[in-house]
Amino acid sequence: MTAIATTTSVPPVAAAMPAKYVLSKSEKRFIGLQLLFATAALSIGSLFGPLQALEFSGLTIGGRDLYALFQPLLASYYQGLTLHGVLNALIWTTFFITGFFTLTVTYGLRRPLAYPKLGWLGFIMMVLGLLTAAVPILINEASVLYTFYPPLQANWAFYVGLVFVVVGSWVQGYGFYITYYRWRKEHPDVRTPLMAFGSLITMVMWQIATLGIAVEILTQLLPWSLGLLPGVDPQLNRTYFWFTGHPLVYFWLLPAYVSWYAMLPKQAGGKLFSDSLARFSFWMFLVLSTPLGFHHQFTDPGVPTIWKTIHAILTYAVAFPSLLTAFTVVASLEYAGRQRGGKGLLGWIPKLPWRDVSVTPQILAGVLFIFGGIGGITNASYNINLVIHNTTWVPGHFHLTVASATTLSFMGIAYWLVPHLTGRTLWAPKLALVQAWTWFVGMAIFSNGMHTLGLLGAPRRTPLGVAPYVPANWEPRLLQTAIGGTILFIGAYLFVTILVVTVLRKPAPANLVPQIPEAESIQDPQLTPAWLDRWAPWLTIAILLIILVYGPNLFYQISNMQNTSPGFRLW
C-alpha cells in the first residue's frame, strides 16, 4: 500500500480514551450471574459425558446400556445425549459468551452499557427460555438431540425455549450496539478497541446467522408441534438449521479468539503481533461464517451439487482467517516469550508463563484447535466428507472446537474472570493447572479415538456398546474414547469445584485480585486503516454474499416446500 507523508497527525488515543474502567458492582453481578448459569449448565451437561463414553466401552448391565441404572430419572442414552448437547454446546456457551461480551464491550469501550436494563431483559429471556426448554427435555418429551431434525417432534415448549434463549441473546446484543453507537459518537476518530471490536462483530454475525433457526422454528416446527401445521418439509428444515449451524460454531469460537487476540498476549507478558490482521480476520468471519452451511449437507439428497460446490469453496475461504489467527497468536506468544528472556528459535516457549492458570489453558486450547482446524478443512473438502460424514469423526472434531478451543479457553478466562468479579483469589491455582492439563490430555485421548473410529466407519450418535454390528477392530478405539471421556469428566468437575470453592472464599485484598487483561498491539491501532474499522462495507458484503449463495436455493426450496411429514415420537 502506498502512502505519502503528511502533516496531519493521528490523534493520540490516550487523550481520547480513559486508561481504565472499573466495573461497577452491579455490572460484576450481572456478568457473574451469567457465568453462574453457564457453569451450572456445564456441570449438569458434563454428567452425561462419561455415561456416553463408558457406554462406548461396551459396559452393559444385564444386556442393557448403562442408562438402565438411571431409570426412571433418565429414559435413554438419547435423552442423556440431548441434555449433554443442549446444555454444553448451547447453554454453557451462550450464557458464558453473553456474560463475557458484557465485560469486553464495557471494558473495551471504557463505558457502562447504555441500557443495562436491556442486558437484564435479554438475560431474563434466556433464563426463561432455558427453563422452558428444560422441562420437556427432563421429562423425556424432547429427546431430539441438539439438532432437533424433524420429523422427530419434540414438545412445543422445547422449541419455544430455544427461541427465547436465542432472542434473549439478541436483546443483549442490541444493548451492545447502542453502547457502541454512543461510544462512537463520543470518539469518532478512535479505532474501536480490539476486544470490543471482536465481540461486536461476533454478535452481529450471530444475529444474522440465527435467522435460520428462527425461521425454522417459527414458521415450521412450532406451529407443527402445536398441531397448527399438519406436516413439515424435513429437507427445508435441514437447510434452515445449517444456515445457523455452522456460524454457530464461530459464535462459540470467536469469543475465544477475542481472548487470544486481545487478552492472552498481555497475560503472557507481550503484545499483539498485528492489529490490522486481527481486525481483518474478524471481518472475514463476519463475511464468511454464514454463506457456507451446505457443507454440512454434502450428503443431503435435496441440495443440488452446484450449491454444494460453491459452499465448499467458501468454506475453504473461511479457513483462511483461522490460519491467519494461528500465525498472529503464535507470533504474539513468541514476542511475549522473547520479552521474558527466551532465546533461540524455540527457546521462548519454555519462557512462557506456564504457571499462569489463565495462560496455560488458553495455549492448550489453541494446540488442540490446530487439530480441530485440520479436521474442519477435511470435513469441508467436498467428497472427502463422504469418508467421515456422520461418523464419530464429527463429534471427535467438534469436541476439538467447542469443547477445546472454546471451552478450555473459557476455563482459562474463568480463572481470572471469576476472581475478578467476586473479589476473591483463585482457590488452588496449582490444581487449576492440573485441571487444564487433565482436560487437554483427556481430550487428546478422546478425540483421537473418535476420529480414528470415524475413519473406520463408526456412526455418530449411537450407543455403540449395544450396537449389533460393531467389528472387532473398533473395540480398542471404543475403549480409548471411554478412557478419554472419563478423564474429561474429571477435568470438568475439577473446574466446577475450583470455581465454587473460589466463590465461597473470603474476599481478598484488592491488589491480589486479578485485573482485566487488555493486550497492547505492537503497532499502534490508530495506524490500522480506517476501512478496517467501518461497518457498512463489510456488512453489505456479508449480506450480499449470503443472499447470493443462499438466496436462489433457499427460494427454490421454499417455493417447492412440501409439508408432508407429520411428527413422530420414536423415543
Binding site: 505519502i4 500465525f327 463422504l386
Partner: protein, 49 residues
C-alpha cells in the same frame, strides 16, 4: 511506503522466526493428515457410474 521510519524501539526488530518454524510444522501436519483422509477416500473408490 512512508518516509523511512527508522524503527526506534526494539519492537520493530522483532522477527517471529520461531513462529515461522511452528507454522511450517503446522503446514506439513495439515497436508499430511488431510492427505491421509484424501487417500482413504480415493482407495474407497468411485460412487458414480
Amino acid at each position: 511506503m512512508a518516509p523511512e521510519q527508522k524503527p526506534d524501539h526494539e519492537e520493530e526488530h522483532f522477527k517471529p522466526r520461531g513462529t515461522v518454524l511452528i507454522m511450517v510444522l503446522f503446514f506439513f501436519t495439515i497436508v499430511a493428515l488431510w492427505g491421509y483422509v484424501y487417500l482413504i477416500m480415493v482407495s474407497q473408490g468411485a460412487n458414480t457410474p
